[in-house]
C-alpha cells in the first residue's frame, strides 16, 4: 500500500513538472523578432474546434502560396516567415492570438479568420494596434474596416448575374431559404430585391436555426408554395440534411435548388445522388477548365493528401497571400502598416479564377461570378463573367444612396464596422 502511494506522489510531481516545463519553455523561446532578412506574416486559422475541417484547406493554401513565393526568391530578396496560430474556432481565442501575432511576433500582416464572428473579434485589436488582416472568406458585406482587406466575394458578386439567369432559364416563382444568421438573411434581402427587379416572384421565405438538420417542414412548405426554384443560403452541415430531405419528401431537381453557399466540400458531404441537377454560384470552382486552375488543383492535391479538397476558400486564401506579396513589393518599409494598407488599392493578381483586383477605395476585391449545374459531384460551369465584377459591400439594389461613394458609408461613419 505504501508503495502505491509513493508511486502516485511521484506521478503527480512528474505531471506537474512536465506542465511547468512546458509553460516555462514557452516563456523563454518567445522573443525572436530581431532577424532582419525575413518578413513575418501571421496565419490565423483553426486546427481544432467546430470549423477546423473547413479551415484546414485554408491553412494548406497559405503554406502552398508562401512556399512558392519563397522558392521564387521571396520579396525583394527577403524570405517570408509565416507563423501559424490556432484559434480553436473560438472568437475570444482569435482575439488573443491576433494580439500575440501583432504585439509579440510583430508580423507585417495576418492572413486569417473564417467565421464572421472571429473576424469581428479581431477588429478592435487591429484598430488599436494599427494592424492588417487579410480575410479570404466570402462574406455578407455591410462591413468594411480600414484594417481589413476582404478578398472573399461580396453577395452582389454571386447574385447580380445569377438571379436574372435563374428567372430566365429555370423559373420565376422563387422560394428563399437560409440559416437564421446574418449572412443568409443579408444575402436573401438582396436576392429578393433583385428577383422583384427582374420580374420574378418570391413565393416564400424560411429560416432554419444554425446547424438545423430536420427539413421536413420546410420542404413541405416549398411543395405547397408552388415554387419553381429554391434559392438557398443555408450554411454548413445543414446543407447535407437539406438536400437529402428534399429528395426524401418528394422534390426533385425539376424544382432545382440554387445555392450561393455550397462548395466542393459540401458537395462531398451531400453525396452525388442528392446534389445531382441542382445549381450553385461561386467565384471559383475547382472544375474550372483553364490552365491556371488545373495546375493549381493538381499541385494542391499532390502536396496535401489529408482529405481536404480545393474549394473557393482555398483559392481565395491562396490569392490573399499573393495579393499581400504584391502589396509588400510596392512599399519601402513592410512594417509601415498604413502604407501597406494603401498599397493594396488597385493591385491585381492573375489568380486561378482569372485576374482579380483589390478595389481602389473600399478594401474589397473584384472577383468573377461563375455558376453551373451540379453533375456527378462536380459543378459543370454554365456561365462565367467576362471579367471580374465590382464588389459592392452595400449593394446598390438595396442602398442606392451609397452607389456614388464606393458602395459604402464614409470611413468615419459608425455604420462602417462595429467600433
Amino acid at each position: 500500500m505504501k508503495n502505491g502511494t509513493f508511486k502516485k506522489i511521484t506521478a503527480a510531481f512528474a505531471a506537474v513538472s512536465v506542465m511547468l516545463a512546458a509553460t516555462s519553455c514557452g516563456g523563454g523561446a518567445s522573443s525572436s523578432s530581431s532577424d532582419g532578412d525575413v518578413i513575418k506574416v501571421g496565419v490565423l486559422f483553426s486546427e481544432s474546434g467546430s470549423t477546423a475541417l473547413v479551415e484546414k484547406t485554408m491553412t494548406n493554401a497559405c503554406k502552398m502560396a508562401f512556399d512558392e513565393i519563397n522558392e521564387a526568391g521571396g520579396i525583394k530578396g527577403k524570405k517570408i516567415k509565416y507563423i501559424h496560430e490556432d484559434y480553436a474556432s473560438d472568437p475570444a481565442t482569435a482575439t488573443e492570438k491576433i494580439k500575440k501575432l501583432v504585439e509579440q511576433d510583430e508580423v507585417v500582416a495576418t492572413v486569417g479568420c473564417y467565421t464572421s464572428a472571429s473576424r469581428q473579434a479581431t477588429l478592435s485589436t487591429l484598430k488599436d494596434d494599427n494592424a492588417l488582416l487579410i480575410y479570404p472568406t466570402y462574406t455578407e458585406g455591410e462591413e468594411v474596416s480600414p484594417n481589413v482587406i476582404y478578398v472573399g466575394n461580396m453577395p452582389n458578386q454571386q447574385a447580380t448575374d445569377f438571379i436574372p439567369w435563374i428567372l430566365k432559364n429555370v423559373g420565376k416563382k422563387v422560394f428563399l431559404i437560409g440559416s437564421d444568421y446574418v449572412f443568409p438573411k443579408t444575402c436573401n434581402k438582396q436576392a429578393r430585391a433583385l428577383i422583384e427587379m427582374y420580374g420574378g416572384e418570391v413565393v416564400g421565405e424560411e429560416y432554419a436555426p444554425l446547424g438545423h438538420t430536420d427539413f421536413s417542414t420546410i420542404v413541405n412548405k416549398i411543395k405547397d408554395s408552388g415554387a419553381e426554384v429554391v434559392y438557398s443560403a443555408l450554411i454548413g452541415d445543414s446543407n447535407t440534411s437539406f438536400y437529402k430531405d428534399y429528395q426524401q419528401y418528394g422534390m426533385t431537381a425539376d424544382t432545382p435548388i440554387c445555392s450561393i453557399s455550397i462548395d466542393e466540400s459540401n458537395l462531398q458531404a451531400i453525396g452525388k445522388e442528392f446534389a445531382e441537377g441542382h445549381y450553385a454560384s461561386m467565384p471559383y470552382w475547382s472544375s474550372l477548365d483553364t490552365e491556371a486552375s488545373k495546375n493549381f488543383v493538381s499541385k494542391y492535391n499532390s502536396l496535401f493528401n489529408d482529405g481536404t479538397v480545393v474549394t473557393v476558400l482555398t483559392e481565395a486564401t491562396y490569392d490573399s497571400c499573393y495579393l499581400l506579396k504584391a502589396a509588400l513589393e510596392k512599399v519601402e518599409d513592410p512594417t509601415d502598416t498604413t502604407a501597406l494598407i494603401n498599397a493594396f488599392g488597385g493591385i491585381t493578381f492573375d489568380a486561378p479564377q482569372g485576374e482579380i483586383k483589390v478595389d481602389e477605395n473600399n478594401h474589397c476585391t473584384w472577383v468573377y461570378s461563375r455558376f453551373g449545374q451540379i453533375h456527378d459531384g462536380a459543378v459543370d460551369i454554365l456561365y462565367t463573367t467576362d471579367k471580374a465584377l465590382r464588389p459592392e459591400p452595400w449593394p446598390s439594389v438595396l442602398y442606392p444612396e451609397y452607389a456614388d461613394s464606393n458602395f459604402m458609408p464614409s470611413w468615419d461613419d459608425p455604420l462602417c464596422y462595429p467600433q
Binding site: 506521478a11 503527480a12 446574418v182
Partner: protein, 366 residues
C-alpha cells in the same frame, strides 16, 4: 488544549501557496509584455469564475455543468452596454429593422449600472433556478443534468434572439470601463483592478466557507440526510450558496468581457461550462486555491502549447489532464492538502503511541 495548538500552529500548506501566487501575480506586469499581462488578466477573471464553481461543487457538492450561463449573463450585460453608448442603435439591430434602443436595454447604457445588473441578474436567475430545483428535492446527478440542459438552452436562446444579441457573432468592442466617453483604463491598470477584485472575492469566499453557513454547506456535501435530522433546511442553504455562486460568476463575466473586448456564444455554452469544471478538477476542489491554480495553469498551458505546437497541442493537454485525473483524483492542490493532513494525523497517532504504556501499545498494534 494541545489539539487546538496542533491545528493553529500550522496554516494549511495551500494558504502559503495562495500568498506565493499573489506575489507572483502582483509582480507579473513588471517582467513581461503588455499583451501577456492582458492575457493573465483574462485568466484571473477565469479564476474568479472557477472560485464561484468551487463554492458550489467543491464545498456543497453540487456539480453544475451550466455555470457559464451565469458567467455569460454578466458578460452580455456589459457587452450590450457598450453597443448602445450615446443612444446609437448598433448596426446589427438596424439590420433587423430596429430603429430605437429597446426599452429594456435603456438602463444598461451606463456601464456601472450594467455591471451591477451583471451581478444581480445572474444571482436572481440562480436563486430562481435554485428555488425550483432544491425545493422539489432534486439531488445529485439530476441537478447536473438540469444545468447541462440549461447551458444548451441559454446558448440557443442567445443565438436565436439575434435581433437583440447579434446571435452567433457575439458582441465586440467592449471597452475597459470608459464611462461617459472617458478614455478606457489602460491594460495594466485594468489588470490590477481585476487582481484586487479577485483578492477580495477570494477573502470573501475564505470567510464564507469558514463561517457557519460554509460549515453547513460542507455538511450538505457530506451527509444531507443527517443535516435534515438535525433540523436544518438543507434546501435553503443550497439556494443561498447557488445565488452567491451566481453573483460571483456574473461578476467574473462582467470583468472578463472588457478584458477580451468581446463576448460570444462560445463563452456561454456547454463547452465553456465544461472547461471550468476541468480547471477546478485539475486544481483540486474544496479549498479555493485549487480552483485559482487550475484556472491559471490550464489556460497558460493551453495558450503556450498552442503557440508552439499549433496542430498537436490539444493532444498534449488531453494527455496531461488524463494523467492528473487518473493519478491524483483530488487535483494538484487537493493532493497536497490531503498529504499534509495525513502527515499531521500520522504524527498525532505516533505521539499517541509514545504516550501510551508499553503493554497497552502492544494491544493497540494488535
Amino acid at each position: 488544549m494541545r489539539k487546538k495548538k496542533n491545528i493553529f500552529s500550522k496554516l494549511p500548506l495551500n494558504r502559503y501557496f495562495d500568498i506565493l501566487m499573489l506575489i507572483f501575480l502582483t509582480a507579473f506586469p513588471f517582467f513581461t509584455k503588455e499583451f501577456r499581462v492582458e492575457m493573465m488578466g483574462r485568466y484571473i477573471c477565469y479564476a474568479i469564475f472557477a472560485i464561484s464553481l468551487d463554492l458550489l461543487w467543491g464545498y456543497t457538492g453540487l456539480l453544475s455543468l451550466g455555470h457559464a450561463v451565469l458567467f455569460g449573463m454578466g458578460g452580455y450585460m456589459i457587452g450590450i452596454s457598450y453597443q448602445i453608448q450615446n443612444g446609437v442603435v448598433p448596426a446589427f439591430m438596424q439590420r433587423e429593422g430596429i430603429t430605437e434602443i429597446p426599452w429594456f436595454y435603456l438602463p444598461l447604457q451606463n456601464p456601472i449600472v450594467a455591471s451591477i445588473l451583471g451581478i444581480l441578474i445572474p444571482a436572481l436567475f440562480a436563486a430562481l433556478i435554485g428555488y425550483f430545483v432544491f425545493t422539489s428535492k432534486i439531488k445529485g446527478v439530476f441537478f447536473t443534468i438540469i444545468t447541462l440542459a440549461l447551458a444548451q438552452i441559454f446558448k440557443d436562446f442567445i443565438i436565436n434572439v439575434q435581433k437583440y444579441t447579434n446571435g452567433f457573432n457575439g458582441l465586440q468592442s467592449i471597452k475597459r470601463f470608459s464611462v461617459n466617453g472617458s478614455t478606457p483604463l489602460t491594460k495594466t491598470t485594468y489588470y490590477y483592478v481585476v487582481l484586487v477584485i479577485a483578492v477580495l472575492v477570494f477573502i470573501f469566499c475564505l470567510w464564507l466557507t469558514n463561517s457557519r453557513v460554509g460549515k453547513i454547506c460542507t455538511s450538505v456535501r457530506e451527509n444531507e440526510a443527517r443535516l435534515g435530522f438535525l433540523g436544518y433546511n438543507a434546501g435553503a442553504f443550497k439556494i443561498l450558496i447557488y445565488t452567491i455562486s451566481g453573483a460571483l460568476a456574473g461578476l467574473s463575466g462582467v470583468l472578463y468581457a472588457p478584458a477580451t473586448s468581446t463576448i460570444t456564444t462560445e463563452d456561454i455554452g456547454v463547452t465553456a461550462s465544461t472547461m471550468v469544471v476541468i480547471w477546478v478538477a485539475v486544481g483540486g476542489r474544496g479549498n479555493l486555491t485549487g480552483a485559482v491554480f487550475g484556472a491559471l495553469l490550464i489556460n497558460w498551458a493551453q495558450s503556450i502549447l498552442s503557440e508552439h505546437f499549433s496542430s498537436a497541442w490539444q493532444l498534449i493537454i488531453g494527455a496531461l489532464l488524463l494523467v492528473v485525473i487518473y493519478f491524483i483524483p483530488n487535483g494538484v492542490i487537493g493532493q497536497i492538502v490531503a498529504l499534509q493532513r495525513r502527515i499531521i494525523t500520522d504524527r498525532k497517532k505516533n505521539k499517541l503511541m509514545e504516550e501510551t504504556p508499553k503493554s497497552k501499545k502492544m494491544a493497540v498494534v494488535k
